[in-house]
Symmetry: C2
Subunit: 233 residues, 2 copies
């Protein structure tokens, strides 16, 4: 609504696109299109190019069944106060049913008017610090877009890097190499080994050693032995 700085329009478009959102409506922007908007949009120029410029909030909301107005402070005029986390399931459920919803952002300085909030069904507030709660406009768009995406993705498994796990026989050979090498280096006294090997085993078993890593470690041991004062039998 009535965005003052075109850079914020561009930054908002970028925030949206990174989270998979594309439909931007601009109600009476001060300046648009504008080179600053283009610059801040970076790779989201397509979102700007397809943005709809509207003459009123009602026009922008036409076709939507649910509008959430954003504000840094709670407004008594609103029936419901929601955090982004609380609002997202409702917004996603409407989207899943093929219905359109809107997040409404006010002017940088003045926010949304009571009349504009009156056209929304819920008030959405990012739980910001009481000491300083004023997010930049595009930053607020980023947070809400992120929260929607986070919940839309759900508990999707985030794959971990896959390294070919070492066979435990190889792991034991490594420990044997390690023990002999430490003895050859004079670091381990076979007559009084204390708890050195158990402690080293504890260290390495906190990670599942990969075959490649075992090979690297055994290579290191070989190099060390080559310069060791002792001998390996």
């Amino acid at each position: 609504m009535r965005t003052s700085h075109p850079g914020n329009i561009g930054a908002a478009a970028r925030a949206m696109k990174t989270m998979g959102l594309h439909r931007l409506y601009l109600v009476n922007p001060a300046r648009f299109p504008d080179p600053q908007a283009d610059a801040m949009a970076s790779g989201a120029g397509d979102v700007l190019a397809s943005a709809q410029v509207c003459g009123s909030l009602a026009e922008a909301l036409s076709g939507a069944v649910l509008a959430c107005g954003t504000s840094t402070r709670k407004r008594e005029i609103m029936a419901r106060w929601l955090t982004p986390e609380q609002a997202a399931p409702e917004l996603l459920a409407e989207a899943a049913a093929g219905r359109e919803t809107a997040l409404v952002f006010g002017n940088e300085t003045y926010g949304l008017s009571n009349a504009e909030l009156g056209q929304c069904q819920a008030l959405l507030t990012i739980p910001a610090s009481a000491a300083y709660s004023s997010l930049n406009l595009a930053a607020a768009v980023q947070v809400l877009s992120y929260e929607l995406r986070r919940q839309a993705l759900g508990a999707a498994v985030w794959p971990q890097p896959v390294l070919e796990a070492a066979d435990l026989l190889e792991v034991e050979r490594f420990y044997a190499d390690l023990e002999r090498t430490l003895a050859a280096l004079g670091f381990l006294d076979p007559a009084s080994p204390k708890r050195l090997m158990p402690k080293l085993r504890r260290l390495f078993s906190r990670t599942r050693l990969a075959r490649e890593e075992i090979n690297i470690l055994r290579g290191i041991l070989s190099s060390a032995v080559a310069h060791a004062p002792g001998k390996i039998d």
Copy 2:
């Protein structure tokens, strides 16, 4: 790390402060301090003023026990890949135990180098759109700061607006008023009421009517009756 645009430093400081974070370390920034940083920081000038400028990542990480490097793409070099959602509990647990942690952000164009990532214990990636995954630097700071704050606040109850609930006796008086008024207006035929009142009850019972609202509604009914063709007995 090596931030190119001072405006991003200011915007990052603002993003942090709105989420209750204050400790900013800048490793070899291209320009700092800078008027653009001040302008973009808005009300977070104190975060900029107390920012530590460091000559190396190692210097910045001194005193921390866990560093998460951020990247838009997964890097094989890292042992663990985490989303912000997955990383936050671990970061918050360290903080709760009085230990220091760090989120590390790379240069706007080049991100973090492999050497820099090698000084981090996990890779943190915001689950962005595959079509365009490049968040603005300060926007990424905003998302991670938000996720930490969201989880730190936990399931804290978000209070709803409190309106003095109407006594159900008042609610029934309203329904009685409504029915008589609709009859006086000729909208309801008492001889053939159909399901009009049950539908109106269903509408109003979806919300818990407040005493003030009941008074307003009954006032409206009185006004309507004053101009109605029929009469109220």
